[in-house]
Symmetry: C2
Subunit: 233 residues, 2 copies
DNA sequence: AGTCCCAAAAAGTCAGACTTATAAGTCACA
DNA sequence: TGTGACTTATAAGTCTGACTTTTTGGGACT
């Protein structure tokens, strides 16, 4: 997924992107296109294309007679899926995971409320199916399969909200959920309470109960926040 | 702001970006780099850089022997500030404005709650100052000055939340508020109730009352939704 | 100290030649 | 007639080298 061979400039980005987002080049650092091109053993044209992409992500700024300067973190396009992936793969993974989980806690309840109003019959069916899949794999160390259904569930909710901005967060949520299973403390079976909440949420959406869908999702996200010790006791 | 002379490729983007986001080239359309280069009277290298940027925004996909194909809207990086600006400037401005306002209604209340917990003394002061500025310009057709304080107010709240993802939405909110004042039905003075809510929100944050801050912001965003006739009665 | 001017530096631009992947068409064979 | 292997045309991808433009830092002169 991340190492799709989009050509040489893609390969350069796969190295340079993570390096910058990891803070390897601190803000204000100056890179020179020619040097980078030599270092990566590509032509200047290829290097320039890579720099343009980094520039469009607001990771760097290119100025004449100065070079390519790394911008402060606060200016980065932190919603760019590529940037998110790079950061999740790097050193400030925990920090990024927290930011995203807080974001989820804001978005998903509202999205669920809207989904209850706008979901098609097909989407309701998908939701129920996913919930059942979660139940079926909630015991006996079937985390992999559980995860697949969990991701699909949240993706459907976000899509069914009918809001394009919410829908596009599906990938982000997928990254967070996947990351939690793979790298965090999730060796045991998932919390039974969480599974139940998903089942009830599917019900609420099917019954067009927006308020209940929103509240149930809020409880789900509270659980996610607690897992990361974000919540004040 | 939008026509920053970042070189020739920037000029190309200023034309091509809006055209694509406006749906001028429907999804699946195939462009050819050479033709575009001729059309814009730039070299292939410059054109290629522009295409790379569009590609990083997931607006287009470049494939050998095929050309540069426009991707379906559902795959665009709709959080990219540049994409947002292009869409706000184009035909589906109303649609984009609605999406963003719904997004605000999800994010800002949570952000305000966090701001109440994390805002520094300085940020509290700024907030109060902005609220006073809003009050001072809420009557007598001073929409311009009112807007400045309104934008600054929301920006401080988002920043004070301490969450980088929220903070980066400051620009988006600014665009929405500005757009509302400039192009929508806002010839009269702002709603006094809204002004009061902002003043009370500044208070709530100063007094570290997270729950109240969240609820007040929810009311503010409900007002924004009503303005666009999004809310079900 | 202040101002003007120059030269170096690095990005920006261009043109042209060459390479590579691949969609699509062609043809032979079953 | 259908299928698989082969060929070809095409458009992106890559590289190189020369040239232009902007900017900054410093030096000379006041």
């Amino acid at each position: 997924m991340s190492t799709r061979g989009r050509g040489l400039h893609g390969h350069v980005l796969d190295t340079l992107g993570p390096a910058i987002t990891a803070g390897e080049y601190p803000p204000g650092s100056v890179l020179r296109t020619d040097e980078l091109a030599q270092h990566f053993e590509v032509s200047r044209s290829v290097m320039r294309e890579a720099v343009r992409v980094l520039e469009s992500m607001h990771l760097v700024e290119s100025r004449r007679r100065v070079g390519v300067t790394v911008r402060p973190k606060a200016e980065w396009n932190v919603y760019d899926p590529q940037v998110i992936r790079w950061r999740l793969a790097g050193a400030d993974r925990p920090h990024q995971l927290r930011s995203l989980t807080v974001l989820r806690s804001a978005i998903e309840p509202v999205a669920a409320g809207l989904a209850a109003q706008h979901a098609t019959a097909e989407q309701c069916a998908e939701l129920t199916e996913c919930a059942l899949g979660m139940v079926a794999n909630s015991r006996g160390h079937r985390l992999e399969k559980y995860l697949v259904h969990d991701v699909a569930f949240h993706r459907v909710v976000l899509t069914a909200s009918g809001n394009e901005m919410f829908a596009r967060l599906g990938d982000v949520v997928a990254e967070v959920l996947t990351g939690r299973t793979q790298h965090e403390v999730m060796f045991e079976d998932p919390d039974p309470a969480a599974v139940t909440l998903h089942v009830r949420l599917a019900e609420a959406v099917r019954e067009r109960d927006a308020a209940r869908a929103e509240e149930l999702t809020r409880q789900i996200t509270v659980g996610a926040l607690e897992e990361l010790d974000i919540l004040a006791p």
